[in-house]
């Protein structure tokens, strides 16, 4: 009797969870089905299999007589953007994280507090000033400029997370290396870094994905077609009022989401852990 009573809420729980979660699953299934369908009956049921929507992969998309840049230009730029961002963030993050965690220097407390404060700082409100600075540096409408901005906006978070990894490495390990005659840098490079490799991997994936998904900064600071990224490519297609072709749009979306889904499936556990640390999207 009492076990039955206990089981009832659990069945109800499955039901409720199913109902609220289903729309999200359907959203993504729709993307997949729609990209291979001639058209959608009632907007949701695919009819007639076709590869027409995927044509953008081998030929340029033409809207209103003018061709969009090749999808491969956009893909290359997105890879360049996300890749460079990841390298910069990890390298600078490791250096700063180590210094914040282990080195003694005047102003350490102040810098720690500042780094902390910057997490919560409304960085997107500063875009006007960032625009001015980019203009001044001659980096407006260039990918490298936006990479710098994005790296800077995320580095307080990244450095802080990496500092946490270093904090977890025991001092004894480092002492042992120092006593054995290594210098500080060598200890750092050969002993400490390998110990935090899993953490670094997680941070790298996180930065790559956030670079890959970036929209606002690229949309604001990039104008020319040669610097187009996948986010901007898709947005261009979407915002054309004369041609809302959901088949094409969903095919491009899926193409765009491939790395995201891949990393997501492979590493969702470590991603979840980082997100708990408080990932404010920029």
């Amino acid at each position: 009797m009492s076990t039955q009573k206990r089981r009832l809420p659990s069945i109800a729980a499955y039901g409720v969870l199913g109902i609220v979660t289903l729309p999200i699953i359907l959203m993504y299934i729709w993307l997949l089905l729609n990209s291979f369908a001639q058209k959608m009956k009632y907007g949701v049921i695919p009819v007639e299999f076709t590869l027409e929507n995927w044509k953008f992969i081998w030929s340029d998309v033409v809207i209103n007589g003018s061709a969009l840049p090749s999808i491969w230009t956009a893909t290359f730029n997105s890879l360049l953007f996300a890749g460079t961002l990841t390298v910069l963030e990890v390298v600078i993050g490791i250096m700063a994280g180590y210094a914040l965690s282990r080195l003694n220097f005047p102003g350490r407390q102040g810098l720690l507090k500042t780094t902390m404060m910057l997490h919560a700082f409304p960085s997107v409100a500063l875009l006007i000033a960032v625009y001015y600075i980019l203009n001044f540096l001659g980096l407006f409408d260039s990918l490298s400029g936006v990479i710098l901005v994005k790296t800077a906006l995320q580095i307080p978070m990244t450095a802080w997370i990496i500092k946490g990894f270093f904090d977890d490495v025991s001092w004894d390990v480092e002492w042992a290396g120092l006593i054995d005659g290594c210098n500080r840098f060598k200890v750092w490079y050969t002993i400490v870094i390998p110990l935090i490799k899993p953490g670094i991997a997680a941070v790298s994936i996180f930065s790559f994905l956030s670079g890959w998904s970036e929209f606002l900064l690229l949309y604001t600071f990039i104008l020319s077609d040669e610097n187009i990224t996948l986010a901007a490519y898709l947005q261009k297609l979407m915002s054309n009022p004369n041609m809302i072709d959901y088949g094409l749009l969903s095919a491009v979306s899926l193409f765009y989401m491939v790395p995201v889904l891949l990393f997501f499936v492979l590493t969702q556990q470590s991603l979840m852990q980082i997100s708990t640390g408080g990932g404010k999207r920029v």
Partner: protein, 304 residues
Amino acid sequence: MEKSNRMTMILRRWGLPSVMLGPFVLLISIFFFLPVVLITILAFTNMDSAMRWNYNGLSNFKKMLSDPHIFEIINNTVIYVFFTLLINVFLGLALALLTTYFIKKETVGLAVRTIWMLPRISPPVVYVLIWLWFFDPSEYGVLNSLRSLFDLPPGKFLAENPMTAVILANGLIGASYGMIIFSSAIKSIPGDLFMAARVDGASHRSIIADLIIPAVRWPLMFVTLWQIMSLLTSYEYILLLTKGGPLFETEVLALYSYHTAFQNFEYGYGSAVALVLVLVALLFSFIFWKVFGMSKMIKASRIE
């Protein structure tokens, strides 16, 4: 010999920290501190696309007070932040309860939480595309297809209830954030407490009210304050979904600052709006800091 020794001493003491921290400090100086200074100065100029620094005193702020749209925009901001927050917190808590307490199978709970991470991890452009398709005013939109099943004429939901759409779309993303933090808080409650409660014959309701809710009290505060700060200053999804329209119906303060600067090229006025926003956000950061202190801010999900 003596001198070079001292040099190495100085290098050892100062060299490593400055090399290691150099790039980091340089980046945050150029893209955090300098912009704050610039915004503050720009707010007192009427800089436009000509990029000239013409100081005009307080006239940007006077203009803001007499701006015909400002009250609608502030009203929108409050509605947007409040209702999105409501969805974030309640849906997040409900999902956390369902996946950790009511459903004991860890694999099922994890799978569901993973699915709920999808909107957060999807590129914003893709996520918004799915919503646009859902609300599409033509007969192909999902909502209209569903309506046609009940013989209802196609409606223009996005044009008629833009704020609801914006809140829903943003709410689902934020819910996963609350969900993760609340789940880890619930999971860190020692299992024996649940056992003890059950042995004593406690109902689900009293377990939730007397055991779980007190345990997530701090995470609840954390998520609320953190989301207020993020929502106040984020506008990416609104920009993609409705562009603040139709007219000013979904224009929030942060987006207004963006529009004045990058659409109307009124950099001075845009900076003034941004400055107000930064000050409000800093106020919340200050409260946040007071409530949580330095260390708690990072280790949010720890139980008190």
